[in-house]
């Protein structure tokens, strides 16, 4: 009996340490107004939100992922000399006691390779990863192609 318990305990400990370290949830960052513009068919979508940093230190958003999409990239739309282009963004700083805004025509999450159905009205999980190793899972509201924001 006892050796069995010990064995079980040892196994549990071994399993726990073998598992990938679970990113600690970010205590610093809050998300508001998170939504996705859903485009028809298999076209890529875009995710928008306001990221609030309640801490005394700058927090850098470095990546994101979602079970609903095979690939999520942080992008920025820019317009120079009358030409629109998209630039990949390595990290987006959320200032201490400040915010960073992902909004149409600027920073956005480019959501590619849809893996699960995403229809307007659904809430889609997206995980945001920060430079300090912390993570924040938030729900983005799926909106129609011609939505002007999270409402309207």
């Amino acid at each position: 009996m006892r050796p069995n318990i010990l064995l079980a305990l040892a196994t549990a400990v071994a399993l726990a340490s073998a598992l990938p370290v679970h990113a600690k949830d970010s205590a610093a960052v809050r998300v508001s107004g998170a939504w996705i513009r859903v485009l028809p068919g298999s076209l890529p979508n875009a995710g928008y939100a306001v990221l609030h940093n309640d801490s005394n230190q700058v927090v850098d958003l470095v990546s994101a992922d979602s079970p609903a999409y095979g690939r999520v990239m942080l992008h920025k739309s820019v317009e120079t000399g009358g030409v629109s282009r998209m630039l990949p963004v390595k990290q987006l700083a959320i200032p201490a006691h400040g915010k960073a805004t992902l909004a149409p025509g600027g920073y956005h999450l480019m959501l590619m390779q849809r893996a699960l159905p995403v229809k307007p009205g659904m809430r889609v999980k997206i995980r945001l990863h920060f430079a300090d190793g912390s993570m924040l899972e938030s729900e983005f509201l799926a909106r129609p192609a011609n939505a002007t924001g999270i409402s309207g």
Binding site: L39, L43, E79, G82, P104, G105, M110, A145, N146
Partner: protein, 193 residues
């Protein structure tokens, strides 16, 4: 008689130049050629610029795999169309793809119908699209192909606005206010000439 007719036509053409209108957007009257193209619409029908005479036409170069700026532009146009109310029936928004490889008639149709019923998707051969872009000095370049086969296209951000006679009249940009665009569209809708 033929000579007389021609002279009459010339006279008519001279006396009926574009009416001066108090536009709020960048006035390009006389600076860009009339609306002319040979393309395929999002129902698979061959169309030319002349098919849109009688309508006030907005034209934009974009592509459907552009998830941010193009839908933002299309949504703004939808809002302006709603502001125009019934008058929107005299306006068309032409979304000309600069990515004909991926933007098939079907993809374009799904795309434009997701935004507004006054939108028309246009595609064609790369040569046809290049010719149209060149005509309006609109630049577009294809970006690097990514590992997953995807790519981006840098494209002109400008919206060209034509009057009912197909004459280029004003330019709107992404920073143009919806109110200013609506104002100029109303001028062109109510202008008989």
């Amino acid at each position: 008689m033929a000579l007389g007719l021609m002279a009459g036509l010339l006279l008519a053409a001279c006396s009926h130049g574009p009416e001066k209108l108090p536009f709020r957007l960048t006035n390009i009257t006389g600076h860009l050629p009339n609306l002319a193209f040979h393309l395929t619409d999002d129902n698979g029908k061959a169309v030319t610029g002349k098919d849109f005479r009688g309508k006030v036409v907005m034209m934009y170069f974009g592509y459907t795999h552009c998830p941010d700026v193009c839908p933002l532009t299309m949504t703004r146009m939808h809002v302006v169309m709603q502001q125009l109310g019934k008058d929107a029936r005299d306006v068309r928004f032409l979304f000309v793809t600069v990515d004909p490889e991926r933007d098939t008639v079907k993809v374009l149709h799904q795309y434009v119908t997701a935004f507004d019923k006054h939108d028309v998707g246009l595609t064609g051969t790369p040569a046809q699209i290049r010719a149209l872009a060149k005509r309006y000095r609109a630049a577009f370049t294809r970006g690097k192909t990514l590992k997953n086969g995807g790519y981006e296209v840098n494209h002109s951000a400008v919206i060209y606005v034509f009057d009912r006679h197909g004459r280029a009249r004003v330019l709107a940009t992404p920073t143009t206010g919806n109110g200013d665009l609506e104002h100029d569209l109303r001028l062109l809708i109510s202008s008989g000439n």
